[in-house]
């Protein structure tokens, strides 16, 4: 329990620093959102009135305090571009982003770990070379490019999946049909990472003395692999899955754009294009929370798998 509390206490200042940096950087960028919202026809009085309405006429420290107060109350405020409550948009967007990231990770783990094991156990044979080549390609492909390729093949040529949108979250079939290709895009990149890490981790463990001892005791190869190799090799894989999942969050932004999914990434790009300060702050805070929570979960899972971590050894 102490371990969990310690991890949570470390996460809070991290989150605070990230949202503060986001707040400052967004305001340092040039461009007046009031002018942008009203356009060239607006009178000076109209621009000033809107600046007041948006709370942009007060000192930046006061804007920051208001922002923090709202954040602590779970209130992200309203979009300065259209006055819509940001929380409403986030409620719509977060499920689309979470399901994409989660499914991408699941794809990556389900495909990457078996593939890593398979290639490691066939070191320097054809499957190993193929696995390594696949992994290299996966690591080299930008997510948006891979997404476009998959769309071209599976949606345009084979007509297996739809192209547009994120589907209806309340309609399982519709939702899954829209989810498969974007999640598979992220999953393939994740698979490439995990395959490489799993393979090298297993190869390292295979050279350990206790594996040699197990084999010399006459244990069957399957028992050696499952009981002695996998158990130890998968420990570093667990923590690296956490790290790569954070990379995947970044990749998910471009995937949401390519597949026009109404997620947080698309929300962020729209806010950036239109200098929507308040929405951008909220989105950065959400992404920072994703990263912090993922880190926290990784630490906790790692602690469960390897109790030595919890004991601080």
């Amino acid at each position: 329990m102490g371990y969990i509390i310690r991890r949570i206490l470390i996460a809070i200042p991290t989150l605070f620093i990230v949202v503060t940096i986001a707040f400052v950087m967004i305001r340092v960028a040039p461009g007046d959102p009031a002018e942008a919202r009203l356009g060239d026809y607006a009178t000076k009085e109209a621009v000033e009135a809107l600046q007041e309405e948006m709370g942009l006429n007060v000192p930046i420290w006061l804007q920051y305090l208001r922002f923090l107060k709202g954040l602590l109350q779970g209130n992200f405020g309203r979009s300065i571009l259209n006055g819509k409550p940001i929380s409403n948009d986030l409620k719509t967007a977060i499920p689309y982003s979470l399901e994409l990231m989660f499914t991408g990770i699941v794809f990556g783990v389900l495909l990457g770990i078996p593939l890593g094991i398979y290639t490691a156990l066939r070191r320097n044979a054809l499957p190993d070379y193929m696995g390594r080549a696949f992994s290299l390609i996966g690591l080299s492909f930008p997510s948006f490019y891979l997404g476009i390729l998959l769309l071209l093949v599976f949606a345009i040529k084979l007509h297996l999946f739809p192209v547009v949108g994120g589907g209806d979250l309340h309609n399982l079939g519709d939702n899954l049909s829209h989810l498969f290709l974007p999640a598979f895009t992220l999953g393939l990149i994740m698979t490439a990472y995990i395959t490489r890490v799993t393979r090298s981790s297993i190869l390292e463990v295979l050279n350990e003395d206790y594996v040699r001892t197990a084999r010399s005791k006459g244990l069957r190869e399957r028992i050696v692999i499952y009981k002695h190799v996998l158990k130890n090799a998968l420990l570093p894989v667990t923590s690296l899955v956490g790290v790569y999942s954070i990379v995947l969050i970044g990749g998910s932004i471009m995937v949401e754009i390519v597949f026009s999914r109404p997620g947080v990434g698309k929300m962020m790009i729209g806010a950036m294009k239109q200098r929507d300060y308040t929405t951008l702050q909220a989105v950065v805070a959400v992404y920072a929370s994703f990263v912090v929570i993922l880190n926290l979960l990784t630490d906790l899972i790692y602690g469960v798998i390897d109790p030595r971590i919890k004991r601080g050894r």
Binding site: A29, P30, G31, E35, A36, R37, L38, G39, D40, Y41, A42, T43, K44, E45, A46, L81, N82, G83, K84, D89, T92, A93, L110, L111, P114, I117, Y118, L121, R122, F144, I148, L151, A155, I156, H159, L160, P162, V163, V164, G165, L172, G173, D174, L176, S177, L179, F180, E221, R222, I257, V258, F259, S260, P262, G263, K266, M267, I269, G270, K273
Partner: protein, 547 residues
Amino acid sequence: MLRVSKLTLFVGILVVMMFGLIAQPVLGKDQVLKIALDAADLNVIHPHFANNTQDRAVVHLIFNGLVRYKTGDISEFEPDLAKSWEVSKDGTVWTFHLRHGVMVHPWNGHPGYELTSEDVVYSLRGSADPAQSAWSGEYAGMTFKAVDRYTVKITLEKPVSPSLFLPKVADYAGGLITPKKAAEDLGEDFRIHPVGTGPFIFKKYTPMSKVVVVRNEKYFRGAPKLAGVEVLYMPDMSSRKFGLQSKELDVIEGPPSQPWVEEMKALPGVKVDVFGPGEGAVLHFNMTKKPFDDIRVRRATCYALTRDEVVTTIGKDVADPMYSMVPPVLAGGLTREELVERGQQDGKDYLYATDRKKAKELLAKAGFPDGFSTDIYMSERGEYLLPIQNVVAQLGRCGIDVKLHIVDHATYHHNMRADMNSIDLYNCWRPTADVFLTHFYLSDSGVVTGESPVTNFSHIGQVDANGDGTIDSVDDLIKAARKELDAAKQAELWKEAQLKAQDWAVSYATHIKKFTFARRDYVDWGYELRSTLILSPQINELTTISK
């Protein structure tokens, strides 16, 4: 080990089957038109604040004006909510007679009601209020009165010509009529739940995804043939193209790019619409910055350029050369032929046909025999970058070395308005010659230093433009044109203002960039699409899908 490989195979097949079997093909309903725009989300769909393409595309489905631009052709006005109108002899009182039986859309359980003069007056007063409208300046000095249930009287402080007045009450921006009861009932929510009288009724907005509207069975021009329209927000060009190919989308917005037009034309079952009015691109020379304070340098810069080369760079299908500040499609615009003819009459060169020898001579006379170098900040967007790169290359041939600093679009806007550039390239459309000239040539509109800064980047009217030691301005011509009621005389004043500015070489129009959309060939707009102020195709009661 064999089991491991089997496990991989099994898991893979299982996952694909899970998605593949449960997945259902998503087929659009046949009579719902799906149009995808190049935007991540809508901004606001209150007509008096909607000022970009993604918002206007929705607003136009829902609202009407007292009059309207002829569908597909902005050169004419025709009745809309008003069946007729007249103007007093002194040009200060406009009286509009409303159609009977125009029904306001139902909203939130309210069944809707008949639109009357009370709604029109409420809406126009809102348009004139800076707190309720982005276009309040356009309605300054107007008073609105409901004479009876179907008659609205608008009184102006000063008379203006029909070509300047009618756009204010047309189906564009502040002229779109917001029904009183619905606007008051919905309050702030009206911005994202619009209620109007147009061919389609707002149904649903899904953030970052789409707006859905459905057929208005009680539309006064007759129920639309489409069951509804879905306006989707898709910022990725490839996704829009794939959506069109897979027929999940019926219409998509394209970039103003020749290769894109050609790519779309090559797709089976796809048609391309390239339409106006387009956005005029003009180079503005900042006369407060050296060496552009010297008329010889500005003229040399003009002579160093070839419009055709800029147009070829952008693409012959998507751009046309433009020769002065106001595009020739508008009253007061100048064509190439007019500039040549007027130049011959006045013994001046208004056209600045390419003459690099002359450009170098002028530079030498101005003290720059080896040319000079200058820095400009430019937007990263293709519609700016492509032409400016060509301009820079052309100027380089005459020794004018322009160092281009590429910045994001918002920074570019900020830097221009902070008067940081020596040359500004600005793409835009304005509905009348008066707005064009007021924004770009009126002294009050000078960026930073003007009384009410807009986009006068050259500072014409604030500085000595022709080198005679006095301040040169076209303010009097712009203001006189505004008061002129005779259309021909008014157009002549606008042309005079531009000819003076051309003579002083304060700016150099390069091209007009058109708008590009692709559609499946089963979509019929129901009218000829030549130009539209909403910058995307108008979808109305005549539009059909015949799959």
